[in-house]
């Protein structure tokens, strides 16, 4: 299966197989009006299977979101058909308005307009905690 290469845009590569839809949603890619290709289960020598997202426009990407989901992802920036930057990600120290706290006792469950902030509390295990109530992020 072939997807045309892009001239100006972003390729999000080495996504763990099955995670591309979550990234699509968290990066709000449905709001873009350019071409976006999601390639699932592409062959990878390193990973066996991987997902890839190709965005056919030079858009701002929230690298914190990507780093949070999977720090092994690589982001390739393409300009005039040439790879100009290959960015390796790391776990961000802080996440703002990326995930929400599931603790019903947390102020974020009731306060309107509040920023949802999570902080990296254990780097080695990638554990994030809510800045308000210290509850561990649920999807970990």
């Amino acid at each position: 299966m072939n997807i045309d290469s892009i001239k100006n845009g972003i390729v999000i590569d080495h996504i763990a197989s099955g995670n591309s839809m979550e990234i699509y949603e968290l990066l709000k890619l449905e709001e873009l009006d350019c071409s976006v290709a999601i390639i699932k289960n592409a062959q990878s020598r390193k990973m066996g299977k991987k997902d890839i997202i190709k965005i056919d426009a030079d858009v701002d990407i929230n690298f914190d979101v990507l780093g949070y989901i999977d720090p092994n992802i690589t982001v390739n920036i393409i300009k005039d058909g040439v790879l100009v930057e290959k960015r390796h990600l790391s776990l961000p120290k802080e996440l703002v308005n990326v995930i929400v706290c599931k603790n019903p006792r947390c102020i974020t469950s009731v306060e309107q307009g509040i920023k949802h902030i999570f902080k990296l509390s254990e780097t080695e295990n990638g554990v994030y905690r809510c800045a308000y109530c210290e509850t561990k992020a649920k999807n970990q």
Binding site: R105, I107, T108, E111, C130, Y132, C133, E134
Partner: protein
Amino acid sequence: MRNLIDILDLSVSEIEELTQIAEDIIKNPEKYQEKCRYKKLATLFFEPSTRTRLSFEAAMMELGGNVIGFSEANSSSAAKGESVSDTVKTVGCYADIIAMRHPKEGAPLAASFKAEVPIINAGDGGHNHPTQTLADLLTIKMEKGGFDNLTIGLCGDLKFGRTVHSLINAMSRYKNIRFVLISPEELSLPDYIKKGVIEKNNIPYTETRDLEEAVKDLDILYMTRVQRERFFNEADYIRLKDSYILTLEKLANAKKDLCVMHPLPRVNEISPEVDEDSRACYFKQVKYGKYMRMALILKFLEVEI
């Protein structure tokens, strides 16, 4: 502008500074009686409290200042659905400093992002209660002479007991500390404190269900109440509420200079007969709390001493 949301917002040297001011207030109260003249403290209590609110109010009055505020959410605009942020922005137009208690965890932090005056967390749900910890620390300093070389037993509800969490955080910064965690399994200390604070700081600790056995090694015994308001299920509360009751008999093997503390209010976890024992320090703790709140108000209002 400073806020106190978590006890760790204060450095070890700032805690030392506050205990020194508090000790000076105890020795020379007249020196402080006009220090906050024309200043106003707002006590915003979205959840009922006797001790903490009155302690803050008494502290401000003893400094010559005034107090405004409310003692339950129903008598504030919160009942009309006002956000915490809007409430503190409004109150900041009237008061110089705000002490706030709220049933939701993290509410004072949310308030501090918007307020234009210092915010003091006076308890946020089961999360933190830093000024109780300041009271606890002054008690330890006055009764034990310092913060190093102590074996501290924490007994009762270690899961929801916010004062326990804050005290562990605070004491983990001192030398040669050992914790003994005494609780039923269902109310044991959350992992994020056990691993994230105690183990992370390489502090030795033991966990036990047996208060009588544990008490003999302790320098401090910190008793807590099983808090009804933290349970979603009444049956669980009833089953666990009488887990540990301290009596004179249970203190028989304890050290003569043990310091028995309790953040109060107690229900029945310390038998009244213990009140007469010289090791009972929990009512002194209340008094020390007021002095530490006075010291904190002075520091945050940047009053020259």
